[in-house]
Symmetry: C2
Subunit: 213 residues, 2 copies
């Protein structure tokens, strides 16, 4: 079976899940933690080399304070949870804004936890335009834009899985997503099932890889 | 009904169509011309403001000479066909390479044909990295990356429709596609049906617009 080396995860639908389960929107984020850990372990078992979670974006911080605090806390908890696993962890986002949680500063250069082995990237206070900004500081001789962007330690993504039914990137790593295959799960992220992941891998296995050629 | 202002068209599957109909790969491109014109007319009738066709990319030019000549000719024919309609036409691509057909130089600044009214962009010898290159010439004060890229006269895309079943962008306008909704048609592009377009619009009407918020 042809496996993706690098999987991007867009864990969408937390708010819609909360509302359809009689909770207020901001109560949905916490329910995303266990799925995140389960997915990490599945990737580990399958031999995936790298995964990137879409935590929250600069766009997202314009939401209500209650929601912002809730998704920020969920991201902090998720990253701290992953430090207890065998992972090579990196948080990528705009640390110069006060929307970036100071608890996550220690993870903004890649660090190995436990035995390492699986690269895990977590986007926190990320913005696509912020990501591309360093290109401005380069000159014409630069050959590969991917080497200078803020997310330059995140490799090209083979497969993006998005939960919650939306069929869009929403600003997720535009350079690394150029040739990615997209797989959409209709269920909301808190309703994550192992089968979603297996279905995504099976589907990916049927796709050809052309890298635009 | 909520209509997209700007639709991106990825007319994929010409080669697979040709092969599954007993033709050689390069014979598939010509069959894409009539669908392109029919789609243009549908957009016009529905009041769409802008459409962008993915012609060919710098990546594509690495294919066999026979294929390259065939898809280049199909793009020239398509653009010339559109000059006979009421359209505001623009061809965007790397004109400095000899892969760019000289027949299309006259269209690399936007020109109005007939009564105009619908902006039509055609990507020819386009590359995402080529598109982003001008960012290198800017300084930190630049606020909006979209204003300086080579495709700066192409607006944000609301809906991308891709024929041929692949679920990927393949380098299509990364900046304008940041928040786009993707709709996939399983049929190959030469098998275009009006119903594909209506189905895409109906689906788009059920999506919310958040622009990442």
């Amino acid at each position: 079976m042809r496996l993706p080396k690098h999987i991007g995860i867009i864990p969408d639908g937390n708010r819609r899940w909360a509302q359809s389960n009689g909770l207020s929107k901001e109560q949905g984020y916490d329910l995303g933690l266990d799925p995140g850990l389960e997915l990490f372990k599945l990737c580990k078992e399958c031999g995936i080399k790298e995964i990137t979670y879409y935590g929250f974006t600069i766009d997202n911080t314009k939401r209500s304070t209650l929601q912002r605090l809730a998704f920020t806390k969920a991201c902090i908890d998720a990253v701290e949870m992953l430090t207890k696993e065998d992972a090579e962890l990196l948080v990528v986002g705009n640390t110069k804004s006060n929307m970036f949680p100071k608890e996550l500063y220690p993870y903004t250069t890649r660090r190995t936890f436990g035995k390492g082995g699986l690269k895990v990237n977590f986007l926190v206070n990320y913005g696509w335009e912020w990501d591309l900004n360093p290109i401005k500081e380069c000159d014409e001789t630069l050959k590969n834009i991917g080497q200078v962007i803020h997310s330059n330690d995140i490799s090209r993504i083979d497969l993006i899985i998005r939960w919650g039914g939306r069929r869009r990137l929403s600003g997720f790593l535009p350079v690394q997503s150029i040739y990615s295959d997209f797989y959409i799960v209709e269920d909301f992220w808190p309703d994550f099932k192992r089968q979603h992941f297996f279905d995504a891998l099976s589907w990916y296995n049927t796709q050809d890889v052309t890298l635009g050629g």
